[in-house]
């Protein structure tokens, strides 16, 4: 499979801060790749290095085989970046912004008019095409940023938290639009704080923390890992539960007790729900309802970050 983005041993320092500590990463063409991490993990620094906005102190990055420093013209031609900040040029209309952006990539008005119209339509901006950027709402400006990144039809699209601060409806429409781009063959790299977004969209996920990749696997691989094997068992009893009633084997699993509600953290390989219910019944706790909740990406993410902290 051909490589869309290759990051090889990238280090970046900001004064005494070692922001990226030898990051190695390979993203294949056609992948929907998620780059996750807490604030300050180094996600934006890595994206800025890929985009040529920041220079690595060591290591190299290629985009579709083109080095982002020595062959930057071709690398950037293959890359579309949706920046995290809601930035815009207040002098121009939406259409002017898109025409100008396309022009930087060597595309004239006539070459690209149909594609710009298509983008405006797909991102529900057609009626705002001749409106000044200043007059747009935050959500509309966000959609213009997406259109700007796509105006030269790049093979690889990097979206740096594209849904940060947008309402649910717009988030859903952006998800649909990005999924459609992926189906058309674009490689998508997504950074996000919404882990359900990564879980819903991404094929493969890297988790970055303190400038290091601490996990890199398929979404399913992460969920099936030790970290993803935990689940939560919620029990409702007929009467109030006293934690002292519980046998020692269960006390270690208790996440919370609240009146007649009990939550237990279990592992799907080691703990059986039937055995737990039987144990509870055996101690005189009459179980009247249960529910389970499997680990999601957020649990895996939180667990990983906490493990690294400890």
């Amino acid at each position: 499979m051909s490589v869309a983005i290759a990051v090889n041993g990238v280090h970046k320092y900001f004064s005494s801060l070692h922001a990226l500590k030898g990051v190695d990463l390979q993203i294949n063409q056609g992948e929907f790749f998620g780059l996750l991490g807490p604030n300050g993990a180094g996600k934006s620094t890595l994206i800025n290095i890929i985009a040529g906005l920041t220079r690595a102190d060591a290591g190299s990055v290629t985009v579709v085989g083109h080095d982002v420093v020595s062959d930057y013209r071709r690398a950037r031609q293959c890359l579309g970046i949706v920046p995290q900040e809601l930035v815009f040029d207040a002098f121009f209309t939406v259409r002017e912004v898109l025409q100008i952006q396309a022009g930087y990539f060597g595309l004239g008005k006539a070459d690209n008019a149909a594609w710009i119209d298509e983008l405006l339509e797909a991102l529900m901006l057609t009626d705002k095409a001749d409106a000044n950027m200043r007059t747009l709402s935050g959500g509309m400006k966000r959609r213009v940023l997406v259109a700007q990144a796509l105006v030269h039809k790049p093979a690889v699209v990097v979206l740096d938290e594209p849904t940060a601060g947008v309402d649910v409806e717009l988030r859903q429409s952006l998800w649909a639009f990005i999924s459609n781009l992926h189906q058309q063959g674009h490689t998508i790299v997504l950074t996000t704080h919404y882990l359900e977004e990564a879980e819903a969209l991404c094929d493969r996920i890297a988790i970055l923390n303190h400038g290091e990749i601490i996990a890199l696997d398929s979404k399913q691989g992460l969920l099936n890992s030790d970290l993803g094997k935990g689940y939560l068992l919620s029990v409702t009893a007929a009467a109030e539960i006293d934690i002292a009633q519980l046998p020692e084997t269960l006390r270690d699993h208790v996440r919370s007790v609240d009146g007649n509600h009990l939550e237990l953290e279990l592992n799907k390989d080691r703990d059986s729900v039937v055995a737990v219910i039987n144990t509870l019944n055996g101690t005189g706790i009459e179980v009247i309802d249960i529910s389970t909740q499997r680990a999601d990406l957020e649990d895996v993410f939180v667990d990983l970050i906490q493990r690294q902290r400890s």
Binding site: L79, D89, G106
Partner: protein
């Protein structure tokens, strides 16, 4: 070379100042004409610089050149600082434009704005004051070199400044004194020796003196000498600007 990219950036920079024509062209023309009105009224009977040239006429080339260079500086510096502060410079930095194309587009846009405003001042001034033209080629050459010099300086200031306050400082404590000490309103021969000597290190003086030679055929120093001084200063400044842009100084971390 990404010619279309270069042309687009140039077009964007021109469109930017065209969209606020009142602020970028009309206001500087009116301000400069007010200088002409006030200084000529106050000094025309008291100052004679060249025997055969009225003081009001003497003022016009200096004011035109002052307008040209100030507006060339304002165009490149304000565009860059605005793009940096608002963050939209990222849209240019992620494109396949080289630092040379970036430089040339900003340079040319600033030269064009400087020349447009300068032409405006000249045309309106001519309605009130007769101004002879000795050599069009020379005055155009100095206008081009002067505006290119200040356009480059504007790019440097725009790259260096991180906030509008710093750019205002650059303008008020560097550009303005050099402009006013360049002989716009007087001949340097009327200055005490020390100021005459200092003026000879001021590139703005050579721009204005050479430009004035294009109108009157007389100047404080040999126009060829002025041409060399301004030309060399421009080459050095352009080199410095290209090095800064090529290294991504304060643009790419």
């Amino acid at each position: 070379m990404n010619l279309r990219g270069f042309y687009t950036l140039l077009y964007k920079e021109l469109l930017r100042f065209y969209k606020v024509l009142l602020q970028t062209v009309i206001a500087p023309v009116i301000t400069t004409l007010l200088y002409l009105l006030v200084f000529s009224h106050a000094l025309k009977d008291h100052v004679t610089v060249y025997d055969h040239i009225a003081y009001t006429t003497f003022l016009v080339p200096g004011l035109v050149m002052m307008t040209v260079i100030q507006n060339a500086f304002a165009n490149s510096s304000s565009s860059l600082i605005q793009s940096k502060v608002t963050g939209n410079i990222v849209f240019v930095l992620v494109t396949p434009l080289s630092h040379v194309e970036f430089y040339l587009a900003f340079l040319l846009a600033a030269i064009i704005r400087g020349l447009v405003v300068g032409l405006g001042v000249f045309v309106v001034a001519c309605l009130f004051v007769p101004v002879p033209v000795h050599n069009v080629a020379i005055l155009l050459l100095f206008a081009l070199l002067g505006s290119a010099f200040l356009a480059s300086l504007g790019i440097i200031a725009g790259i260096w400044a991180e906030k509008f306050d710093q750019l205002a400082g650059f303008q008020n404590f560097f550009i303005m004194p050099l402009t006013f000490l360049s002989g716009v309103f007087y001949s340097i021969h009327t200055l005490p020796d020390i100021w005459q000597t200092l003026s000879r290190f001021n590139p703005f003086f050579y721009m204005i003196d050479g430009f004035r030679y294009g109108f009157f055929g007389v100047s404080d120093v040999n126009p060829f000498y002025s041409l060399c001084f301004v030309g060399i200063a421009l080459v050095l400044l352009a080199g410095l600007t290209l090095v800064m842009l090529g290294r991504g100084y304060k643009l790419r971390n």
